[in-house]
Structures are given as C-alpha cells and as structure tokens.
Symmetry: C2
Subunit: 320 residues, 2 copies
C-alpha cells in the first residue's frame, strides 16, 4: 500500500530534499536514464533526477513525428534554459513505418507503445550502462492499474528486457505518493515555468489519436495544422480540453467554382471537471465561424469543419 | 427558344385552362403516364394532367426505400384526398440491390437514376399503352441542361426506349415556361395543400445522398431516424435547409460504462438565398444540445453528433 501525500500535507521543499536524497542513495555510483514526454509528470521527474544526479542522468526525448507543431523544440528549449541536457532522438521514420496501413484505434495505440518501448527507448536502455530507470508514475496511475510489483514487471517486459535478466534493473518512481495537484506544486518549486502546467490534456498516442483511419506523415500534418488553429482560437476559453480530429470520410466541397472532394475536420471543446462527464462548451458563433474559416482556408485539402454537440457519455473526449 | 411566363404576367386560372386544353388536344383518345416524386413540380403536373385526362392518366409513385419517414404514405394520402389515384410501386429491393457495395457518390447517383428510369419507371412506360409522358420540367431545369430536342431524346434513352422506336412517344411539359414561384402559384390554384410548398429542398438521390459510404437498408434507417429529429427540432427556424448525414467513420463512445465504437451523425442547417452561398444558422445552444441528446438517445448505434460550421464555399450544402 502506497501512502498518499495530499496537497495539504505536502511540504514541497522537504519533499524535494527527501527525494533527491533517495535517488542519490539508490543510484549511488551508477547512472540513471529517463524518458521525457513534455508532460508535467515526466518534466518534474526530469528536474528531480537532474538535481539528484546531474550528468549521471540521461534524459531522452523521443521525436515520434506525431506531436503538435513545435512541441519537441519547445520542450528541448525549456529544459536547455533550466540547464538540463535532453537527448532528442529522431524516431519519426520508425513510428510512421509501424503505423503504416493500420486503421484500428487499438492497433494504432499498440504500435505506438511497442515502437516507443521496445524499439526506441527500450533499445537505448538496453544499450546503456544505466540500470536505474526514473519514471513519473503518480498515485492516480497506480489506482488505474494493478499495483506494485506486477506493474514494474510490465515495464521491463515493455522495454524488451527479459524478466530473468531484469534482476539488475531498478525503477525509481519519486512521484508515486502524489496526485496531479501535488506534482504541480513540486514542479513550481523546482522552477518549471508556469506554461508547463497550463497545458491542456494531451493523449499518449498524440496526434495519432486525432486521425481517423491510417496515420501517415501527410495526414498528421493536416491535423497538426488544424490543431494550431484550434489551440490558438480556444486557448482563452476556460474549457477543460479542445482538439481537432481529421476524419477519413470524404465530403464534397467547392474551390474556385469547381467540385473538390475534400476532407473534414471535427472540432471538440469540452467542459468537464474530472473527464468522466463532459459537455460541449458554448463557444460564441463568431468563434465557431472563425474556426470554420481559418481551417478551410489554411489547412490544405480541408473543405468542411464540424463542432461536436454530443455529451460524454455516450461520446468520449477523444474520437478514437 | 422557350418564352418565359413571369410571376407578374401569370394568370393562374387562364394558365390552367390553357394547359388542360393543350394536354387534351395532344393526348386525344390516347393515354398518358407520369411519375410523381412528391416534389412541387411533379405534384402540379399530376394535378394538371388529372384535370385534363382523368382516368386516362396513370400516375406512378416509386417507393425507392430511400425516402424520409412516412414520405410515400403522406404523398399517396394527399393525392387520395384530392381524388387522384396514385399507383405506388414498391421498388425498394431493386434500389438497394443496385446500391449494394457502391461508396462513390457519383456511382450512387448513377445507380439511382438508372434504376428509376431504366428498370422501374421505364419498364412501366414500355409495357403500358401510354405514348404520352407528362413531365414537370420547369424553365430553370432547361437553363441547367442543353435545351430542346436533345434533352427530350435523353429522356427516352434514360427510359430504355430505342430512339428509333421512340417515334410514337411524346413528352408533354406543361410547366416549361414557369419558374418555381409560378409553379407554386399554379399549384395553389389547383388546390394543392399549403404544406406541399413549405417543404425544404430535398435532393433527387434522397437519403442516399445523406449516407457517406455504402447505402444499405440499415444505414438508411439510421439516417432516416436522425432526419426525423432534425426536421422536428429545426422546422421552426427560418433556415433555407437542414439535414442529417450519417458518417462512415466510426468514433469511440461509451454506453452503460462500456466502450462502444459507434457511428456519428452530422447536422447541417444553412442560411441561404439562392443555394450558391450558404452560412451555418446560428442555432441556440439549447437546440444544438437537444439535437445531440435526442439523436444519441433515439438512433441506435449513434454515439456522436456534430454541427457543421463551415460556409459554402468551400463546403457544399449536401455532403456527397
């Protein structure tokens, strides 16, 4: 049983001091490695690990080709400013090749997970001297999976490390007693800039979860361009989450007086407290029409834009 | 060159008297036949032909299986009230069999046209004694096609009648000098009820134009149910047109706490004067949310509903 540290009980300075010492004690003269996604949890773990281990920590950022516009550059630049070296690994080819011809959402997720763990990050871990793996697991993640040793076994399996040989590997999870609010508090104390906490939720499979049908570099570029517009126009709403989805269905359009069988982008903008229930945000019509205008004008191949008006349930926040 | 009769110049009583006499003179001792779709033009032609020929006119209504809920029954009932016998031909099997496996919009249209003209109505015409065909062509239709004799040749070809043998056939087009406003005026004079003029525009390929992907009886039933809700909730708007579209793309949904990979309905509601340009109607959010609620609750398999927020151009009014 993991003992929760609530936000009220949390002394962030003391927490950081304790965790830095724990990490140093565990790693000792060895080296550690971690994967940075740019999300809050992995960012906070990177900062803690850096403070504890300095150059004895290798932080890997995998450019998978399915992130939002400028995301890899922004994350790398932010950590550079904080004095933390991040190794950016360009794995775009590997991800797109794993996603080729797949249209089933579950198979897409599986292809992304497999490519990340086994082929890219797993390979780096296996080839490195690092036997310590820093992970940004938080208490909510544990609630959502089976707890304890089984979960850690899974991580090694995912990384392609034989459980027989995994004996030497150790996972360090310094945030495991915290929930999201506590993680944010610790992150602020560690000097992470405010914009790293403001970001709206973004799914693990990234923009691949925002493309219905096959994920190709071209289709990712289409939904990426639409996402820029959606995030620009909706960032000042107080919405819980907003996103653009590229449909596979083709619809009729008109360009320069000629029939143009084109693509459709669906915009979703949710009000929600806990993501379990959600309702569409009542965006002003000027905003809706501006979304329609900018997306059809600026995203090549898109002739039609819709706004989702169902609730969750029976809808879900993401489309796939 | 066809001489236009403008609404200002139109004397509806005199027009009806003249056309009734023209039709009687042309048909003489023979018989005539016409196809009633339920639209204004074919309804007015049916009334004119009935007044001129009585039982010497056979009026055919083809139930193609892709009409809106209750449409065939309503049209038949309306003409029964007016004392006009309408032969309802059940051709649902033939249409669905012609549409099987077709996903391309142009091929869909072609399959519907071919089935109607060659297989169903053409067969009836060929097997009948009627050599006179009444058609609701209006001046706007002529503007939109090549004028005169060529167009009439096309009709025979479409009906599967060899132009060599078509010599005996004659087409009568009593509304050809009128535009839509004049047709409505004449229709009122002929006693057609007011609701026959209020109907929003509906495309020739009917609900098949509202289904992206293959047209099956099940998919038509889905979009038909959604159409009932859309027409019920939007009939009091002053919109030019409103419609429901069934997408082929599947999206994730939740039912009774379980994942449900389901279908999406797109609602479009257009403001427009002439259909050349159109903008989305600014429906109140209560209406949008009610659409989302009723469609997901009442249409089996639908978990998601969107509202179109693009303009025409680059969108079009219909989706395919």
């Amino acid at each position: 049983m993991i003992k929760e540290i609530t936000l009220q009980a949390l002394d962030p300075q003391q927490f950081i001091k304790d965790k830095v010492k724990d990490i140093q004690d565990m790693v000792g003269a060895g080296t550690a490695i971690n994967a940075l996604s740019g999300g809050v949890d992995s960012s906070v773990v990177t900062m803690l690990g850096h403070r504890a281990l300095g150059k004895k920590l290798r932080t890997i950022f995998v450019e998978n080709g399915i992130m939002r516009q400028g995301e890899a550059e922004q994350v790398a630049a932010m950590f550079e400013k904080l004095g933390v070296a991040v190794e950016v690994v360009d794995a775009r080819k590997e991800f797109f090749s794993a996603l080729k011809s797949i249209t089933d959402p579950e198979q897409k997720r599986e292809a992304i997970t497999q490519t990340f763990y086994k082929n890219i990050f797993g390979k780096i871990v296996r080839e490195s001297q690092a036997k310590f793996l820093l992970q940004g697991t938080i208490l909510t993640d544990v609630d959502e999976t089976v707890a304890g040793i089984k979960r850690q076994h899974n991580v090694f399996e995912q990384l392609g490390i034989d459980p027989q040989k995994a004996f030497g590997y150790k996972i360090i999870e310094p945030l495991i007693q915290l929930r999201k609010d506590g993680v944010r508090r610790v992150g602020r104390e560690l000097g992470l800039p405010e914009e790293s906490f403001d970001r709206i939720p973004f799914p693990g499979p990234a923009l691949a979860a925002r493309v219905i049908g096959e994920v190709t570099p071209e289709r990712i570029e289409t939904v990426r361009k639409a996402t820029v517009i959606v995030e620009k126009l909706l960032q000042y709403t107080s919405a819980f989450q907003y996103l653009a989805i590229l449909h596979e269905d083709r619809v009729t359009g008109m360009r320069n007086g000629k029939r143009d069988f084109g693509q459709q982008i669906e915009v979703r903008c949710w009000n929600s407290h806990d993501a379990r229930n959600a309702t569409p945000t009542k965006l002003p019509y000027e905003t809706l029409l501006q979304l329609g205008k900018e997306i059809t004008e600026q995203v090549p191949g898109v002739v039609s834009v819709t706004y989702n008006i169902a609730t969750k349930p029976p809808s879900t926040i993401e489309a796939i």
